[in-house]
Amino acid sequence: QNGASGDGNQLQGEVKIDGSSTVYPIMEAVVEEYGMTQPEVKVSVGSSGTGGGFKTFIAGETHISSASRPIKDEEKAKLEEKGIEFTEFKLANDGLSVVVNKENDWVDYLTVEELAKVWKEDGTVKKWSDIREGWPEEEIKFYSPGTDSGTFDYFNEIILEEEPIVKNATLSEDDNTLVSGVTGDKYALGYFGYAYFAENKEKLKVVPIDGGNGPVEPTNETVESNEYAPLSRPLFIYVINQAVKEKPEVYDLVKFTLENGAELSEEVGYVKLKDEDYEEGLDTLEGLK
Amino acid sequence: MSTTISKKTEENLTSDQISDPTGQNIVYSTKQLNLWYGDNHALKNIDLDIIEKEVTAIIGPSGCGKSTYIKTLNRMIELVPGVKTSGEIRYKGRNILDQSYTVEELRTKVGMVFQKPNPFPKSIYDNIVYGPKIHGIRDKKILDEIVEKSLRGAAIWDEVKDRMNQNAYGLSGGQQQRICIARALAIEPDVILMDEPTSALDPISTLKVEELVQELKKDFSIIIVTHNMQQAARISDKTAFFLNGEVIEFAETDKIFSNPSDKRTEDYITGRFG
């Protein structure tokens, strides 16, 4: 499957990627596979979160920025201001997963309203019993991706509706921290990208979400069909046009990413796009060259 | 003070004393004592009886084993790793080299004064009460009494009585040495061991300590190591001459210095070696 990018000729150079920690597992897989076909191309991958990634993208420090939300207008404006042209590629679908500890035997599902109520800051100490009667009278420990993350932005928009998140939530750009936190804490409640749940299925319990049509659990099918609403969302990479044009290795890497995106995103636990979406992306890419 | 002595002697007659043939009480009876530092045979077949309430001087050239012997008497020698002994030293009848003899108990009966004054870096008062305190005496009044008595006994009371709470390090070397003697007196030992107690002192301080030793022998048995033959002649009753780890001659001091029976003793005393 790698043949397409190889062309037999060895490329050299440096590609810098930063951005979404949600997308990070895909990019990590892509870069690892890519390294086997083009060992001379030096690719570094950061995971500063979508917002943080865009900051370095704007500063011209990276060639590719991954994102778990579409680019914001103000970010676009800054890029335009600097005269940087860029292109958006869709890479995979994600079901933002709400998780609790394995030992949590009381939560069967949560409604969007319940999520909103419990995650919003209102000056009180949140207990499980505040959500539904009969649940333990224990303080909830919140674990959330950091405010620079696309995941947070998405959650903020859909669930919190731009109101402040509970103050004592543990916020971390590093999803591994969140996984460890929820794994180790019986009264924890957290959310993050589907891949992190998929990778740690045995340790975590995912909470079905009722968005109005009954509780739905995030799975490949429910995410792809958008049945898992409202927490399904697409994942992106953004590429600087000029880099594609001037650096064959950037072009080659993006091509490789799109060609292998379906397989690799499934492998790390996300849901692939439709085949024609990838075809479309590859066409766009050719247009940039 | 002399009254005290005679009283004491009487008291002690009733205790577990052993007498030598001439009827004097023997404090320490050393028999066939051998000592090795690793492979170094430092004491060889030492036989020596130390009489109570006498000053016994030990003389001999450097390295002959004087310090080693005196340190064996209160088992301080055990601090040196790799020391082995054979033979016995009977202190009032019991063999102190026997491991069942607790050193701590032995050392409450046998005080020691060292070559270099080694007061603790504490106040004069605390230096003196250190011994009584570790032995469980807490009563402030008794402690005060002990301090005064010991300092008087060491002939330094008048010099320090007004600065009990000053650090002992502020004193001169000679004063420090007398503080160390007072410290040893404070636990009322029977024997006082002194290893060249004046060699770090100036002549005047030396004289004071020598006078003090004369005074102390009324109450204590004293064993003193010295390099200074004049000193041995001046202050001791008996003198033992050590050479290469052996006792060459042990006799009345007068005899040793006027009419030694061994040629080597004579050579040493007349300064032909050492």
Binding site: Y24, P25, E28, A29, V31, E32, G35, P39, V41, K42, V43, S44, V45, G46, S47, D174, N176, T177, V179, S180, T183, E199, N200, K203, V268 | T4, K7, T102, E104, E105, T108, P132, I134, H135, G136, I137, I142, E145, I146, K149, I187, E188
Partner: protein, 292 residues
Amino acid sequence: MHLIDKSSVIKKMKPRLLVNTLYKTLFFAATMFGLLVLAVLLYRILSQGAGYLSFDFLQNLPSRRPEQAGVKTALIGTIWLMLVVAPISLLFGVGTAIYLEEYAKKNKFTNFILVNISNLAGVPSIVFGLLGLTVFVRALALGTSVLAAGLTMSLLVLPVIIVASQEAIRTVPKQLREASYAMGATKWQTIVRVVMPAAIPGILTGGILALSRAIGETAPLVVLGLPLFLAFLPRTVFDTFTVLPMQIYNWTSRPQEEFHALAAAGIIVLLVLLIFMNSIAVLIRNKFSKRY
């Protein structure tokens, strides 16, 4: 006349001896506790990591699949870091030590430098990271390069090298210097030909210890922002890179057990490297110790 009741003294002897024995046992146990922890720590790490340890582990690039992951980039990166830190820190460390021991006059300024050095030795390593981030990464625009990290680490270990070198220079006997001066040698000749050769074992020992500190440090590098995933080797000092502790940290922070085992395997590699360096230090110390 007797103020001390001998019989009570004897009576109190037993409990005192008992207390002594008791505490001796306690003190011994405490000492053993440290050793025990060390043993447990090593055993844990060995048993956890041994499974992943193989020749491939040293040769493989990092991977998202634990079975395929290796420490090559990190190991090579660590070596790069040493290659930068060793010359820089030795140059400045030994230079400072020579200045302080041979040239500096006893005045306020010298005293200031001395106090400064001992304070610097106590500054937390993460603060050096902030310094490196501001000065090397940003102001000098070196990025997260080997050079930026190397300079930061050199400053971090500088006090260690200075103090060790001072110690080494100080133990060179005065008589050797006098002998040299008496031959008409100048001060610098004396330093180069007499003092330095005699001090070099001590300096090297200190240098190696400082280097082991440098390759075990994580915090400053985290602050500099070394990348998480790196599948290539640096070619010049201006390339970005990663080091063993960073790789270990990365694996540690992943929730899956497999990565923890990988982290343990990485730790074994790091510890072997450290043990190797320290044995060299010990060898040097033994070979050259106390010749005058």
